[in-house]
Symmetry: C2
C-alpha cells in the first residue's frame, strides 16, 4: 500500500473535494459541518445527497425545506461535473513526489485561526515547502498591496517585512507583483519564514515571472493554496483566496492600495474577522496610497509606519503564550534558528569550520568594519542572490552576522 | 476729543494690558474675571492689588490665602515694570493711523470661540486688515505645519487651502515659512479671507521675508496678534500664540510636522480644547510627516487628504446655522462675494465695463478654452503676483472665472 493511503480516507476525501468544488462554497461548507468528508465524496460520486444524521438535519436546514434540498442537490450535481478530471488518489502521490503536502483541519498542525472562517474555512490546504505552517502562523502578519506598486510602496513593504522577519514574525502575502513580492523578498532577506497564499496550484507559476521567487519561498517558508496542484488562477479565485490571507495571520497591513485595489478586499476580510487592520500611509498625491488613507479614515485602520507599530498592535494576539495550544498530538513549538528574534548566544554559535562552502564564502564577503548590502555581498562572495539570501539568513540565525540600517554586518563576539 | 477716546476706558485699558503683560498670564486672567480692565490698569499704575468685590474674592482664591495674594502682588509689580514704555493712549491713535484696530471680548464681533480658552483667553486682539473677524471665523480651519516643509507638504497645504477658500472657508495659520505660508497663499489665490496669527506686533515683519505676504493678507484678510504693534517675537511667544490659532477656528489640520515640530503644540491645544484635530499623511520616508502619522496613530487625529474631508469633519460645528448668533449689536452676517462658495448668478455678475483696468487685463489673459495657472496669467496680463491674486479673487467672486484642477478658467455664461 502506498504511503498516501496511510493518510486515511478523510484526508483523501478532502484532497478530492479541493478538486471538485471551488473553495468557500457555502453548500459544501454546510455539508462538511454535519458529514464526514468521505461521506460527502461518496455522495457526489453517487450523485445523491449524503445521509445526514437526524440530529444534524437542522444545521443544514433540510428538515422541512425542499428548496434547500434542491439547492444542495444542484451543488452535488455541479461538483460531480468535475469527477472525470479527479486523479485516482486525488493527486496525493504525484504531489508528494513534487514535494507538495496536504494539511487538513483535523491535523494538529492546522492553524486554528482558519476555523474563524466558519463554514467558508478551507477544505484543506496544499503546501509546498518544509516549514511548519502552525508555528509559522503563531506570530504572523499579512502584508498585501497593489500590484502596480510605486518605488515608495515597494521600499516600505520590503523594509517593514525585513524588520518583521528579523523580529521573528512571519510575513503572509499573495505572491503577486508589486507589494506582495516586496514583502516576501523583504522577509527572505532576513532568513525569516514567509508564506505565499496563491489563487492557483502551488506548482502553478502565476505570475510566471515569480516562478523563481516561489521556489525560494518554498525553500525558506511555504507556498500554500486551497486549489489542487496544476489548477490555474482565475479572477474570482483571487477574491476567494484573500479571505485565507486575512484569516491565517494575527493581523493585516495594507502597504499601498489604489481606490479599487484587491488589497482592500483582503482588508475587508480582516475587518470582518475582527482582526487588527493596519495601513501604511503615503503621499496623498499618490493614487496608490488613496486606499490606505481611506481605510484609515473610514474603516478605522491603524496608521502604522514601522514594524514596531505592527508588533505593538498584534502582540497581545500573537505571542505564543496567549495563543491556544495546538490540538492533541502536536509537538511542542520550537523556535527555528532563522526565526529567532534574539541573536543566538555565543555558546550556541557553531564554529566557522562547520559552515558549508557557500556560507563560509558569504561570511568572508562581509566587511571587517561597517556593513554591506545584500547584492554587494553576493558580488563579493561570487554567489547568486538566492544563495546569498539563504546563507545570510542562516548566518544571522546562527549569530555570526546581524542586520542593520545599511545591510548586514559581523556581530561582535 | 480724539476718536480713540470714544472707545471707552475699558478698551483703552485692555490695549494697555497687552503692553504690560504677556498673553495667557494666569494672574491677569484671574483678575480680569473679577475686575474691570480699567480697575486692573489703575491698580498696576498704583502698584497695588485692585479692589475685588467680596462676592468675587473666592474666584481669585484671595480670601484666606496670603501666598496667593503675594503672587498676585508680584505679578502687578512685574507688569508695572513695563509702564514707562506704555504709550499715552496705549498706542491706539498711532495704530489707527497705520490701519490697525483693536478688538476686545466685549465687542459684538469678538469670536466667541476664543472664550473657550477660559482664563487664558486673549486680553484683546490687534487687527491689521478690514475683514470681519467674527464672520471670518464662522467657517474656518487652522492649518499649520513645519517651517522646514518639503515640496510635497507645501503643495498639499496650498492645494487644500485653495480648495477650502474656494468653498468659502477661512484658513487660519501662523504666518511662518513653509506650511503656514503655503496655506495662506493657497487661500489668497482663491480670493478667500485668510488670517495670520502672529507672535509679534501685526506691523512687525517677522519673518522679514514675509513682509509682502503679510501686506497681501491684510489686504484680503487679517493679520492679528495679542501683542501690541511694534512688539518683537520671542521663542515662548510662538507657543503662547499657538493656543489662539487652535481656539480661533472650527478645527486644526496639521499638514507636515517633524517629531518635534511646533505644529504639534498647536495640535495639542486643539485636542485639549476638544476641537477636531486632523492630519495630512505623507511618505513614511519623510521626517516631516512623522509628526502627522504619530498624531493619527496616537492622538486619534483624523487622516484627511482633501478639503472635502476637512469640511465633512467640521461642518456640524462650522455651519452658520449651528453657531451661536453674535452678541447683541452685531450686524447680520453677510456672505462676501469673495467668500461665496457658489458662483454668483448671471444676474449678479457685473458687466466687463465695470471692471478696473487691472482686472480687465487679468480677465483678458485667461485662455478662451482650457485653463491657466496663476503665474502664467500674471505674465500674460503683465501684472505682479499680488495684483493677479487680488484680481483673480475678485473675478471669481463676481462670477467671471472659476478655479479648476489646472488653475483658472472662464466660466461658461
Amino acid at each position: 500500500m502506498s504511503p498516501v493511503w496511510r493518510l486515511g480516507p478523510q484526508v483523501l476525501a478532502r484532497a478530492a473535494l479541493t478538486y471538485l468544488a471551488e473553495p468557500a462554497d457555502p453548500a459544501l461548507g454546510a455539508l462538511l459541518e454535519v458529514c464526514e468528508p468521505a461521506e460527502v465524496l461518496a455522495a457526489i460520486k453517487a450523485g445523491t445527497l449524503p445521509a445526514i444524521k437526524a440530529d444534524a438535519l437542522l444545521a443544514t436546514d433540510l428538515t422541512d425545506n425542499p428548496a434547500r434540498r434542491r439547492a444542495l442537490q444542484a451543488a452535488v450535481n455541479r461538483w460531480r461535473l468535475r469527477l472525470p478530471w479527479l486523479p485516482d488518489d486525488a493527486g496525493l502521490a504525484a504531489a508528494r513526489r513534487d514535494g507538495i503536502r496536504l494539511i487538513c483541519p483535523a491535523d494538529p498542525r492546522w492553524p486554528g485561526r482558519l476555523d474563524e472562517l466558519g463554514p467558508v474555512r478551507p477544505y484543506a490546504l496544499w503546501l509546498r515547502g518544509q516549514a511548519d505552517l502552525y508555528e509559522a502562523c503563531l506570530r504572523s502578519v499579512s502584508m498585501v498591496g497593489s500590484r502596480a506598486a510605486t518605488g515608495y510602496g515597494a521600499h516600505m513593504a520590503g523594509e517593514i517585512a525585513a524588520d518583521l522577519g528579523e523580529r521573528g514574525w512571519t510575513v503572509v502575502s499573495g505572491g503577486a507583483y508589486g507589494i506582495d513580492a516586496a514583502a516576501h523578498r523583504g522577509a527572505l532577506v532576513t532568513g525569516a519564514v514567509t508564506i505565499a497564499v496563491l489563487a492557483c496550484g502551488v506548482d502553478y507559476p502565476y505570475p510566471a515571472g515569480h516562478a523563481d521567487l516561489f521556489a525560494t519561498i518554498a525553500e525558506h517558508g511555504l507556498v500554500i493554496s486551497e486549489w489542487p496542484p496544476g489548477r490555474q488562477p482565475a479572477r474570482l479565485r483571487f477574491l476567494v483566496r484573500n479571505r485565507t490571507i486575512a484569516a491565517l495571520s494575527c493581523g493585516t497591513v495594507i502597504v499601498e492600495a489604489g481606490e479599487r485595489s484587491g488589497a482592500l478586499n483582503t482588508a475587508r476580510h480582516a475587518a470582518q474577522l475582527g482582526k487588527p487592520l493596519m495601513a501604511v500611509p503615503g503621499p496623498v498625491t499618490s493614487a496608490q496610497s488613496a486606499g490606505c488613507h481611506r481605510i484609515i479614515r473610514e474603516w478605522g485602520a491603524t496608521c502604522v509606519t514601522s514594524a514596531d507599530h505592527i508588533i505593538e498592535m498584534l502582540s497581545p494576539l500573537g505571542t505564543p503564550e496567549t495563543l491556544p495550544a495546538p490540538a492533541t498530538g502536536a509537538p511542542t513549538a520550537t523556535v527555528l534558528p532563522s526565526r529567532n528574534p534574539q541573536p543566538a548566544t555565543a555558546d550556541a554559535t557553531p564554529s566557522r569550520d562547520e559552515l558549508d562552502a557557500d556560507s563560509a564564502r558569504v561570511l568572508d564577503a562581509l566587511p571587517a568594519r561597517g556593513a554591506a548590502g545584500t547584492s554587494t555581498i553576493a558580488a563579493e562572495a561570487g554567489v547568486d542572490l538566492d544563495t546569498v539570501l539563504r546563507c545570510l539568513g542562516m548566518l544571522a540565525g546562527s549569530g555570526f552576522i546581524e542586520r542593520c540600517d545599511r545591510g548586514w554586518r559581523l556581530r561582535k563576539p
